[in-house]
């Protein structure tokens, strides 16, 4: 299996605080990889560095898009990174609240479409075809995450769990090969979490996407992950299969024995 994302020695400082301390991580094609750790461990910061929201202080972030040249993406703008094929969701939901559910997903298509101002005004054949395709693809994604009925609602009127799924659909609309999900199950009830669990696996199996996810819900993590990385205080303290992680004393200590055995 080929490696898609390769992070080496990633470090991020905020003033005096080292939020991420030389962390290495790999995601291979077709994998679901989880990044776990206690609150404040630096997981979200890690995502922010990989997706270009922050420029890392040190280390290398390399992407190997399938069929294309390897690229070092440290310090590139987030939109450029998304265009190379990595899309994310946010821990604190960041939808476009006053746009409809469908439009939210359509935004994700922006980097895969080309209509410019003049094209939009003339609305020629190509523009219309592209627009139709955008709508259709977006709608299919909504179906996939189970939000098709709500396509015309404003995003901020959705319940919490639906907003999380909408974020996933929006990220998928950018045609990524790697999807980065930041606590997708946060705030969901057990039923919703269970459905999410199935959804993520389905996305991986059908969508030809690999997944890197941050999650506190150990049941979900243990269920679906192929491999798990564990962070604490910015450092990587363990990595391995769910089975290995479950029995790793360092991890148990970090979590004070809670949850891991769920």
């Amino acid at each position: 299996m080929s490696v898609l994302l390769e992070v080496k020695g990633l470090t991020m400082d905020f003033g005096g605080l080292r939020a991420v301390d030389s962390v290495g991580l790999e995601v291979r094609q077709g994998e679901i990889v989880a990044l776990i750790g206690p609150n404040g461990a630096g997981k979200t910061t890690f995502f922010n560095c990989v997706t270009g929201i922050y420029t890392p202080t040190g280390g290398d972030v390399l992407v190997h898009p399938p069929g294309k040249k390897t690229r070092r993406i440290n310090g590139l703008k987030p939109n450029v990174i998304t265009t190379t094929g990595m899309a994310r969701t946010f821990q604190n939901i960041r939808l476009f609240p006053n746009m409809t559910v469908l439009e939210n997903v359509m935004i994700g298509r922006h980097c895969r479409t080309t209509t410019n101002i003049i094209g939009a005004v003339l609305r020629g054949k190509r523009t219309r075809a592209q627009e139709r395709e955008t709508i259709e693809k977006s709608y299919r994604l909504l179906e996939k995450v189970g939000l098709a009925e709500l396509a015309g609602e404003f995003a901020n009127n959705l319940p919490y769990g639906a907003q999380r799924r909408l974020e996933i659909a929006r990220a998928m609309a950018t045609d990524p090969f790697l999807l980065l999900l930041d606590e997708p199950a946060a705030g969901m009830n057990p039923q919703e979490t269970h459905e999410l669990d199935a959804l993520i696996v389905r996305i991986r199996n059908e969508g030809n996407m690999s997944i890197l996810l941050i999650e506190h819900d150990m049941k979900l993590v243990m269920n679906i992950s192929d491999r798990i990385y564990v962070m604490e205080y910015g450092k990587e303290i363990a990595k391995g299969t769910p089975q290995e992680i479950r029995n790793n004393p360092k991890v148990i200590e970090a979590y004070l024995g809670e949850e891991v055995h769920a």
């Binding site: 905020f14 979200t44 922010n48 929201i53 922050y54 946010f90 604190n92």
Partner: protein, 302 residues
């Protein structure tokens, strides 16, 4: 090089800068606490000047004289500026806490237009002569051609006010509460700070400083109208941004830099283009240091 001229420009720059500083502090303190550009702050300064003008005019007509007028006019102006400041916050800003950021900003612009035109309609659209409330000191006579008494008073009063403000913020209880609120409003509230009161006090302090500025400028320049607050407000805000918004020493430094830039541009280039230099400087600094001279660049948490 003509040194006398240079010194004259230097003084006039410092005077301007101190006035900007008095007003910029109001902008910066309010911004520090509620992240709002209080566009109507310049209008508070204008209202302060107007109240002082009316009080001093009435007192003169009723036979008062000398320093008693200056003191009374300044006091009443300060009281009224504070009252307007509090009312402004209550009506135009408080209902908008938590609204999208553009909303309070537009509300502030609306409030500014409203107050300008309120004074225009209630008083007059014309310039009014402002009495020279600041007396000419005898001991200043020898250097009066370079630094006049009003200039001296402005510099001294501004310096004293800054010292007072620093003491207030560093060493009093309310000052501590203000700093706490500035750092983290939610946390401050949780630890028992009455945030509404802190915000009101911030507006009061800012307004009083602006009123002091209004009285000083009025008697220095000698005339005022309803529109004087606008440009001075914009400049003072520019100064606050230059220094790093939310940063109190930054506001003073920004104001002095701006005042000096304008004075020298007016003196050596052309007074018509001084505003061009002021805004040019702003753009330049924002490009080089987006957070301002003393501001710290903070990464937004995502």
């Amino acid at each position: 090089m003509d040194w006398a001229y240079f010194v004259e420009l230097l003084c006039s720059g410092l005077v301007r800068g101190s006035i900007y500083a008095l007003i910029a502090l109001g902008y910066t303190m309010v911004y520090g606490i509620i992240q709002l550009i209080n566009f109507a702050h310049g209008e508070i300064y204008m209202i302060g000047a107007f109240v002082a003008l009316i009080v001093s005019g009435a007192l003169t007509i009723y036979g008062f004289s000398g320093v008693s007028i200056l003191v009374l006019a300044a006091l009443i102006a300060a009281v009224y500026a504070a009252a307007y400041g509090i009312t402004l916050e209550r009506i135009a800003y408080r209902p908008l806490r938590g609204a999208p950021r553009l909303s309070p900003l537009i509300s502030a612009i609306g409030a500014s237009l409203f107050l300008q035109n309120y004074v225009l309609l209630a008083q007059t659209p014309d310039f009014l002569p402002f009495p020279a409330l600041i007396p000419d000191f005898e001991f200043m006579e020898p250097i009066a051609h370079i630094v006049g008494s009003p200039e001296l008073v402005i510099l001294v009063v501004t310096t004293l006010t800054m010292i007072g403000l620093t003491v207030l913020i560093k060493h009093t209880k309310i000052g501590k509460a203000m700093r706490a609120t500035q750092q983290d409003m939610i946390m401050a509230r949780l630890t028992g700070v009455n945030v509404d009161r802190v915000i009101s006090v911030t507006f009061v302090i800012g307004s009083v400083l602006a009123a002091i500025g209004g009285v000083l400028v009025g008697s220095y320049i000698g005339q005022i109208n309803f529109y004087i607050g606008f440009m001075v407000g914009v400049k003072a805000f520019t100064a606050a941004v230059l220094g790093g918004i939310g940063n109190i020493p930054g506001a003073v430094i920004g104001a002095l830099v701006l005042g000096l830039t304008e004075a020298f541009a007016a003196g050596y280039v052309s007074s018509a283009y001084e505003d061009v230099f002021a805004f040019g400087l702003l753009v330049l600094i924002l490009i080089v240091r987006p957070a301002g001279i003393l501001g710290k660049a903070v990464k937004q948490k995502v």
